[in-house]
């Protein structure tokens, strides 16, 4: 009887398809990833069941850390430049082109206008250490001016269709005192609608069945 010959199969696989998928995913993640810049403040937001997602454009984020230091973040570079100009005019501080350029690239800042120059010259860790928050005292409420100039600058650059949405991002251990100061500042400018950034939390069992979602 003749022996049945078992054909020897090659164990090498064709990796091309797998490679394709891997690079497709890679490209996707590289393109969607946004470089996280070093923020001068650490904010641990409280949780809430709210599911509204923060829009990624036209927002003005007021970050408040545990100690009550206030930082400001404006996403558009044009708005940032325009608002710096206005602030410089208001407080009689002049910025050089280099400093303006630095400010254009700084998403988030938190320093009294008088110290802003030295912050813009500092790099890396020094820059973080130099920023101690924007003054919010009633005597010297620079936050008030920053916010109103930011809104004005936004309207001037983008028109009234793209008004800034004011968002408060505070640490869960921040004292309400500070929050109230910020809210009062905003309300003084007739801004009565704003958003609070939170982490998503699960709705407790037995609640929120057929409610409409905002």
């Amino acid at each position: 009887m003749a022996k049945v010959k078992v054909p020897r199969k090659s164990i090498s696989l064709d990796m091309t398809a797998m490679c394709d998928v891997a690079f497709l995913l890679l490209t996707f993640f590289i393109l969607t990833a946004t470089a996280r810049e070093e923020e001068p403040v650490v904010v641990d937001t409280p949780g809430s069941v709210s599911e509204t997602v923060l829009p990624d454009r036209d927002v003005l984020i007021i970050s408040i850390d545990k100690g009550g230091q206030v930082f400001l973040k404006v996403d558009s570079e044009k708005t940032r430049l325009a608002m710096l100009d206005k602030m410089a005019g208001r407080y009689q501080v002049s910025f050089s082109e280099g400093e303006k350029n630095q400010f254009r690239l700084t998403e988030m800042f938190g320093a009294p206008i008088a110290n802003l120059k030295s912050v813009l010259h500092a790099k890396g860790k020094d820059r973080v250490a130099l920023q101690k928050g924007i003054p919010t005292d009633s005597l010297d409420n620079q936050l008030d001016n920053w916010v109103s100039y930011a809104r004005l600058a936004q309207v001037e650059t983008f028109g009234t269709q793209q008004q800034l949405r004011v968002v408060i991002k505070a640490d869960k251990d921040t004292k309400y005192e500070v929050i109230q100061k910020v809210i009062d500042t905003l309300m003084k400018q007739n801004m009565n609608k704003f958003n609070l950034i939170t982490n998503l939390e699960q709705m407790p069992a037995g609640f929120g069945g057929e409610r409409e979602r905002h």
Partner: protein, 179 residues
């Protein structure tokens, strides 16, 4: 391997030209690619932060009509104190103060009861939230969250008035709460 076989050069046979396999071992490349994929997947923040909207009342204008009186039976004033303590009292004229906490058995139970009571009276339960200066931001967000969870429609954040402070202080001394 890299040059193109133009073929038919002089019609002669190729001598000794080993036919190299066109297959490339892709394994290391795939390894690398997946390593990078993993890296970007882990570092990227796909989820954008969630927000909760908060509407504060507008400043009353001089010639506005006075605000309608709230129904005392469905009104609860909630004072958020330090150390995660909540004081609440029902009614405005003769408040009876209670204390509670942020647990499901505490504030939420009370809020659910009030909302149900409001419904039975065909009214909306009203919650007036008054955080003290020492309350944390988390406390405020938690209470706003409870409003959402219990589906309370009417609530407002207000300043703590001196008379509220008095009421709380009185309750604290009566019940020996020192902190």
């Amino acid at each position: 391997m890299a040059d193109v076989d133009t073929g038919g050069k002089g019609g002669g046979k190729k001598k000794g030209a080993k036919k190299a396999s066109t297959k490339v071992d892709m394994t290391p490349m795939v390894d690398l690619a997946f390593l990078l994929v993993t890296f970007f997947m882990l570092t990227t923040t796909l989820s954008k932060p969630n927000t909760m909207s908060l509407n504060m009342p507008e400043k009353p204008k001089p010639n506005d009509p006075p605000p309608p009186k709230v129904d005392e039976r469905v009104t609860t004033t909630v004072v958020l104190d330090k150390n995660n303590r909540i004081f609440y009292y029902k009614g405005v004229e003769t408040p009876e103060v209670f204390t509670t906490d942020y647990s499901a058995e505490g504030f939420r139970k009370m809020a659910v009861e009030m909302v149900a009571k409001g419904k039975s009276l065909q009214k909306d339960a009203v919650f007036i939230i008054k955080p003290t200066a020492e309350a944390s931001y988390k406390n405020v967000v938690d209470i706003l969250d409870e409003m959402k969870i219990t589906d309370a429609k009417v609530y407002a954040i207000q300043q703590l008035y001196p008379q509220d402070k008095e009421i709380i202080q009185k309750y604290k001394t009566e019940h020996n709460i020192t902190d």
